[in-house]
Every structure is written in structure tokens, then in C-alpha cells.
């Protein structure tokens, strides 16, 4: 297959393929029927939107897809890609079914559908496979979430990540904790880390946190890993009760986050602070609304938007009006798509290689994330960083770093 992706060329390829392997090709127009008015536009630029929307990652995958489609809709509504004469973006949807091998197969499909770029694929494991498959065809691939640092920086020119990886998140997490602790007169010293250990995400996180915290004068008394899914946190609560740490640092997915925080509350376990790093539930509006007591004063270092940007708040209203949860998956995928669109504008072309060039040299600042102007080194946006939030009342407020803070931390609580 050629790397050339001009629409005409793609159609030739497609016809050739239909001739070659006729099976099922009559219905091979994947995923466009949801947007029929767009699909028929002549000059549309195809964008692969690839997430695990079925299987065990379905919730996060679905949120990502929702965010990405939202961005595409907005771009089209405001006149498409102007540098391409107002060409509309046409999403080509892919479902990785929560399996890496299916993710890779979907990339092949997207390639033949002639996508100019791909956004995806939420999890680190799947993103590793999809970026690699996309690299074969030189398809620019923006990783929306996938926080594993090994996704970027393994030499794939096509692979970019707009958001932060583990390294930065834990570094900022430690810095934020130091800042908050200092402001309160350093009451916290002893720490317990609770993390999921079934996927790369939690397993890496715990190790990196420990490495960062100890030189800063904290003492990690205990690290408590648990599997995902997990049914019961009472043991962990009891252990924490016995250890009596100053700060508890949890790191896991939404379900475990909810169960963990509720268990702490039920077991009357308290600490000076709960400070999660990529906590599943801690900075999720859904959780805050449903269990305000369990969420009270929980802090979380996580992906977040710049609370000073009205666009973010507007989007939040829109998402919630649609009955969806405004979670990090939504705005990360949303921003990734916006970034790809901006790169197309800069490239003035839907050519894969030119988009890659434009992404690599991007200085985009039209987003609402707290990242500043984009600067890419080895595929990673070096300005990307998480923020530290705290649930105060029924709101999620940013408490660190001070440049973005909307409120002062309530600590110790």
C-alpha cells in the first residue's frame, strides 16, 4: 500500500482492493452512516477515531469517542479545515474491542478507508499496537490518553501525544503535594500508596511516585497494590487504619475509585488528606454528584482543563446537557482532534507526511488545556501537565500549581 493518501489515489486503491478480495466489501464503508450529511461531501478529509468501545474498557473508550466526535462536529460547524477550502472532517470509527490485536486490525481498515490521521486509542496497551501499525503506513497518530511513557519516544515519527505521560504526571503530583504540604506547615510525612496493578497504568505509577516522594522527605510506609476489577477494599481500609498515615495516595480506575473512597468513609478511616494521582473517581463530576460525602476534600493530580478558559467550561455544560459525564477522556480526545485539525491547517494539506511534519513542529495554543503553546520533542508535547484538583463543596476546584489554582487547598482536612 502506498503512503500517498490523496482522495483520488485512495479511491483507486479501494477499487483495486474490492477486485482483489471482494468478500464483504459491499458493506465496507465503515462507520460513516452516523454522519451521512458529512459523508457525502466531496472534499472531506477522513479522520480515524479508534477506541475500545466494547469489552472491558468500553466506558473510557466510549467517552473518548464522544469527545473526538464532538470536536469534529464543532470543526465542521465552524467551516471545516479552512486551508483545504473548508473541507469537512469525516470521522471513520474503529472499535478495538479492548484488544490490542483488534486495534491493529482496525488501523489497517482505517488505512484503507484513507484516513489522513488517527486519534486513539485510550489505553497504553492498545495504543502501543495501533501506533506501530499506523507507522507502517506513515499515518499520523495522536494518542489521546495512553499515559505510558513508552508509547512516544520509541522512534515512531508518526506518533504524538498531546497530553502528559506518567513521568510528568507523577513529577507534578509530587510537586503539588510538596506545595500543599508546605503551605499547611508540613503536617504530612507518612504516606500510603494504594494502586491498581493489573494494567501498566497503576503499576508504573506506584513505582514512580515512591521514587519521587522519598527524596522529598516523605516516608512511603506501605504500598498496597490491588487488582482491577476489585470487589472489596475493607482489608486495605483496615491496614490504613492501623498504619495511620498522614496522606493516602490512591491510583486506579473509576469503579475501584468509588468503592475505595466509599469504603474509607464507611470504615471511618481518616487521614490528613487523600491525594490521589490519576485517581479514577476523585475528579469525576459523576462521583462528586452521587457521593458528595465520600468525595469531600479529596485531592487528585490528574488531566484537567485550564479553569481560566471559558471554552472548557462551555464544553462542560454542553457535555452535561447531553447527559454525559465530563471526564478527562472527553476533553483529552477532544483536544487531540482539535490539534490534528490545527496541524492540517498549518500543513495546508491532508497528506499524511505533511501533517506529521506540521504536528512535529506545532506551536498551537488555541486549546483550553493548561499546556501553553505546543512544543513537541520526540512526539511528546513537553508543555503537557496535569493539575491538582480538590473536591470542595459540590465543585472540583484546581488547587495547584498556583498559576492555575482557583481555590486554596483545604489541608489538612
Amino acid at each position: 500500500m502506498s503512503n500517498d493518501t490523496k482522495a483520488t489515489r485512495y479511491k483507486l486503491n479501494r477499487r483495486g482492493f474490492v477486485k482483489g478480495a471482494a468478500a464483504g466489501s459491499a458493506v465496507a464503508v465503515a462507520g460513516i452512516a452516523g454522519f451521512p450529511h458529512i459523508a457525502r461531501a466531496q472534499a472531506a478529509v477522513k479522520l480515524g477515531v479508534l477506541h475500545p468501545v466494547t469489552g472491558f474498557l468500553q466506558f473510557s473508550g466510549g467517552q473518548c469517542r464522544y469527545g473526538a466526535l464532538m470536536a469534529i462536529e464543532e470543526i465542521n460547524a465552524s467551516g471545516g479545515i479552512k486551508a483545504l477550502g473548508g473541507a469537512k472532517l469525516e470521522p471513520v470509527l474503529g472499535d478495538a474491542q479492548s484488544k490490542a490485536e483488534i486495534g491493529a486490525a482496525e488501523v489497517e481498515k482505517l488505512n484503507e478507508a484513507g484516513v489522513a490521521a488517527i486519534v486513539g486509542a485510550f489505553s497504553s496497551g492498545i495504543s502501543l499496537a495501533t501506533t506501530q501499525a499506523a507507522a507502517k503506513y506513515g499515518i499520523p497518530h495522536a494518542v489521546d490518553v495512553g499515559v505510558n511513557d513508552k508509547i512516544v519516544g520509541r522512534g515512531l515519527e508518526n506518533t504524538f501525544r498531546f497530553g502528559p505521560g506518567f513521568g510528568v504526571i507523577t513529577k507534578r503530583g509530587v510537586e503539588g503535594l510538596i506545595e500543599i504540604n508546605k503551605a499547611a506547615g508540613n503536617p504530612a510525612k507518612r504516606i500510603v500508596i494504594v494502586h491498581e496493578n493489573t494494567t501498566p497504568f497503576g503499576s508504573y505509577m506506584a513505582g514512580l511516585m515512591k521514587k519521587g516522594l522519598e527524596p522529598a522527605g516523605f516516608e512511603v510506609v506501605e504500598t498496597l497494590p490491588h487488582p482491577t476489577p476489585n470487589k472489596d477494599f475493607r482489608n486495605i481500609a483496615l491496614k490504613i487504619k492501623e498504619i495511620k498515615p498522614d496522606v493516602i495516595i490512591p491510583s486506579h480506575y473509576y469503579n475501584e475509585g468509588v468503592l475505595f473512597l466509599r469504603t474509607l468513609q464507611r470504615q471511618r478511616v481518616s487521614a490528613k488528606g487523600i491525594y490521589s494521582v490519576l485517581g479514577g473517581a476523585s475528579s469525576q463530576y459523576r462521583f462528586v454528584n452521587e457521593f458528595p460525602d465520600a468525595a469531600r476534600n479529596v485531592m487528585d493530580c490528574n488531566h484537567w482543563f485550564d479553569p481560566g478558559k471559558p471554552a472548557a467550561l462551555g464544553q462542560r455544560k454542553k457535555v452535561e446537557a447531553a447527559g454525559k459525564s465530563y471526564s478527562y477522556e472527553v476533553f483529552l480526545a477532544y483536544t487531540a482532534v482539535k490539534w490534528i485539525a490545527d496541524s492540517m491547517e498549518r500543513a495546508g494539506s491532508a497528506d499524511r507526511a505533511r501533517i506529521i511534519e506540521a504536528m512535529a513542529s506545532s506551536t498551537w495554543s488555541g486549546h483550553f488545556m493548561p499546556y501553553g503553546a505546543t512544543r513537541i520533542v520526540k512526539g511528546q508535547n513537553t508543555g503537557a501537565q496535569p493539575l491538582v484538583m480538590q473536591v470542595q463543596g459540590s465543585e472540583i476546584e484546581v488547587i495547584a500549581p498556583s498559576g492555575y489554582a482557583t481555590r486554596k487547598a483545604v489541608f489538612p482536612s
Binding site: G24, A28, G31, A33, D95, A105, Y137, K150, P200
Partner: protein, 341 residues
């Protein structure tokens, strides 16, 4: 049994067709589709040896896939062993796990649901171990192999993603095809050997088999080893292609289910059953997905609802699998033909 040569010819034609796939399929998408189908067909043939021919239904074949994948990945990751050497250890490791699980289960005479449940339990135990012993297995982080981008090293490192155009497009296809041919050749041989006859006999009736001089314990042990060897070989392909394995990929229930679906749908205890089943399952899921997408737009889950319903229907109408259904139809046609004559 009309014509040994005829069935021989069929096999040769099938093999030739598979070898020649790159000649008439130029689409990366369809090559990938065929690759995945063959991958599950290999996984399923492993299961079929023990479950289809031997009648010992395992719910934990991920044990062998996962062990093969982990050994293949870890030897390279930790000790820089060449993938071409690691693969022999991967298969041997799978066989060792087979010996271990088989010895315990068969020594204590577990059959039927009990055997199914113990394999399930062993797979889960391996899952927990892979997750928990971080110093050995890297734990939940998984094992990620370095990506080779040097085309000259493609063969030496058994990584074809950035190889020359042909290898890049078809390299992994021929890897899985080679594994398929070995697995299916071995099964074909087995079906025509004393070992195969004895294995089938003990599936049909263990007491009678024992009375007729068959060492049922040893036959079952041999079957689980062969089964493990084939299934673990699919782990080699997986790791070399995706360069990543973690506990859930290796030992989660997904692979165990995939392994048993294909042969049961296709036809238990037949050489072609797992391949036919895998083609059917993948074809069906592709068609349902594309059809739903085309008429209704992307609706996550609907394709799988349809898939599940069709699956249950197929089971209802073809309890002996698709190969069984085809045979019955063939017999009817043949009988009809004779009657006319």
C-alpha cells in the same frame, strides 16, 4: 471414504490457496483479517486436540498461549535472547505447563466439568502470579519489547513492521501460516495414527479404551502436550507482532474462550473444524459489524448482540458444528444422487 487421492488433493489445494493469498489479496486490511482468523485457528487447533479429539474440555487454554507469549517476550526482554531461540523455549514452556496441569488433573481422574473448572482455576492462578511477581514477570506493567526499525535486522529480530515491502506486508502472514500448517499437518497425521485412534477411543469411552490396552493416562498426557505445544506457538506470533504482553492479555479469559469457540462451532475432532469455525466467527463478526454500521451507524454493542444471537442459532441448528452440517448435507446430496441413478 470415496477416494483417498481426492481428499489429498483437497488438502493440497487448500495449502496452495493459503500460500498464494498474497498474490490475490493486496489489501492490508484483509491480510490482517486473514491473519487474525488463522491466529485463532491455530489457537483453536490446540484446543481441538485435547477437547475435540480427546474429549477433555479445557476452559483455560490461555495457560498455554500466555506461557508461550511470556517466555517469548521475557527471554528477549531480560536476557536479549534471539527470538528464534526463544521460541523453542516458549513451546517447551507451554508443554511443561501442560505436563504439570495434565499430570495433576488426569492422575486424580478429573473429567468433564471438573477438568474444565480446574483448567479455569489454573489459568486464573497463572494470571495472579503473572501480576504479582513483578521481579520475574514485570507484573501489570507488562513486557514491552524494543521496536526494531532497521530493515536489515528484520529477519534476525523477527520483526517485520519496518522490513522490506514484501516482508512488511506479508511477513507475519507467513509466520502464522507456517504455524497453522505445522499444527494442521500434525493434527492430520495424528488423525491417521495409532495415537489419534486411541485418543478418540478414550474420548468415546474411557473404560472400554482402557480394557482394550490403551494407557489412557499416558494418551491424555500426550494429547495435552501436543495441545499445549500448538497453542503456545500462537503466543510466539502474538508477541513478535505486537511486541507487548501483559497478564490480562496472556492469562485473561479472552484467549481461553476464543480457543474453544472456533473448534466447537467448526466441528469438534475434525482437522478443519477450528479453521472453519474461525473463518465463520470472524467473517460473521465482520459482516454483522459492517452491516450494522452501514444501515444504522456506529452502535457499539449491536453487532455483538447480533453475533451472539446468530451464534446461538447456529448451535441450535448445527450441533455437530459446521463441518458436521456440511457432511450431513453432502451425504444427503450423495444419497439423493444415488436414488436418481
Amino acid at each position: 471414504m470415496n477416494g483417498f487421492a481426492k481428499s489429498h488433493l483437497g488438502w493440497l489445494l487448500l495449502a496452495a490457496a493459503l500460500l498464494a493469498v498474497p498474490v490475490f489479496v493486496k489489501s492490508g486490511r484483509w491480510i490482517e483479517f486473514i491473519e487474525l482468523t488463522l491466529f485463532v485457528a491455530v489457537l483453536g487447533q490446540g484446543w481441538n486436540i485435547l477437547g475435540g479429539y480427546g474429549g477433555q474440555y479445557s476452559f483455560g487454554h490461555a495457560l498455554f498461549f500466555g506461557t508461550g507469549a511470556y517466555i517469548q517476550a521475557l527471554l528477549q526482554f531480560k536476557y536479549g535472547v534471539s527470538p528464534w531461540i526463544a521460541m523453542w523455549f516458549a513451546v517447551s514452556g507451554g508443554v511443561l505447563v501442560g505436563l504439570f496441569v495434565g499430570y495433576l488433573s488426569f492422575r486424580y481422574g478429573l473429567r468433564g466439568s471438573y477438568f474444565a473448572l480446574i483448567t479455569l482455576a489454573f489459568a486464573e492462578a497463572f494470571h495472579v502470579v503473572a501480576r504479582s511477581f513483578i521481579s520475574i514477570t514485570e507484573g501489570g506493567r507488562g513486557v514491552q519489547l524494543a521496536l526494531n526499525r532497521d530493515p536489515d535486522q528484520a529477519i534476525a529480530l523477527f520483526q517485520f513492521t519496518f522490513a522490506d515491502p514484501f516482508l512488511k506486508s506479508y511477513g507475519y502472514y507467513y509466520v502464522i501460516l507456517a504455524l497453522l500448517m505445522i499444527a494442521y499437518g500434525a493434527t492430520w497425521w495424528m488423525e491417521r495414527s495409532r495415537f489419534g485412534a486411541q485418543l478418540v477411543a478414550l474420548r468415546e469411552n474411557e473404560d472400554a479404551a482402557e480394557a482394550l490396552g490403551i494407557n489412557t493416562f499416558r494418551t491424555k498426557m500426550a494429547a495435552i502436550c501436543m495441545s499445549a505445544a500448538i497453542t503456545s506457538s500462537s503466543g510466539i506470533y502474538y508477541v513478535q507482532k505486537f511486541l507487548f504482553v501483559d497478564p490480562a492479555i496472556a492469562y485473561g479469559p479472552t484467549k481461553s474462550v476464543e480457543a474453544l469457540f472456533a473448534p466447537i462451532i467448526g466441528g469438534l475432532g475434525t482437522v478443519l473444524g477450528p479453521l472453519v469455525g474461525s473463518v465463520f466467527i470472524h467473517g460473521l463478526s465482520e459482516v454483522t459489524r459492517e452491516a450494522i454500521d452501514a444501515v444504522w451507524g456506529a452502535r457499539p454493542g449491536v453487532d455483538l448482540i447480533l453475533f451472539g444471537i446468530i451464534l446461538v442459532l447456529v448451535l441450535g441448528f448445527a450441533p455437530k458444528g459446521l463441518v458436521g452440517l456440511a457432511e450431513a448435507a453432502w451425504r444427503r446430496v450423495a444419497r439423493g444422487g444415488k436414488a436418481q441413478r
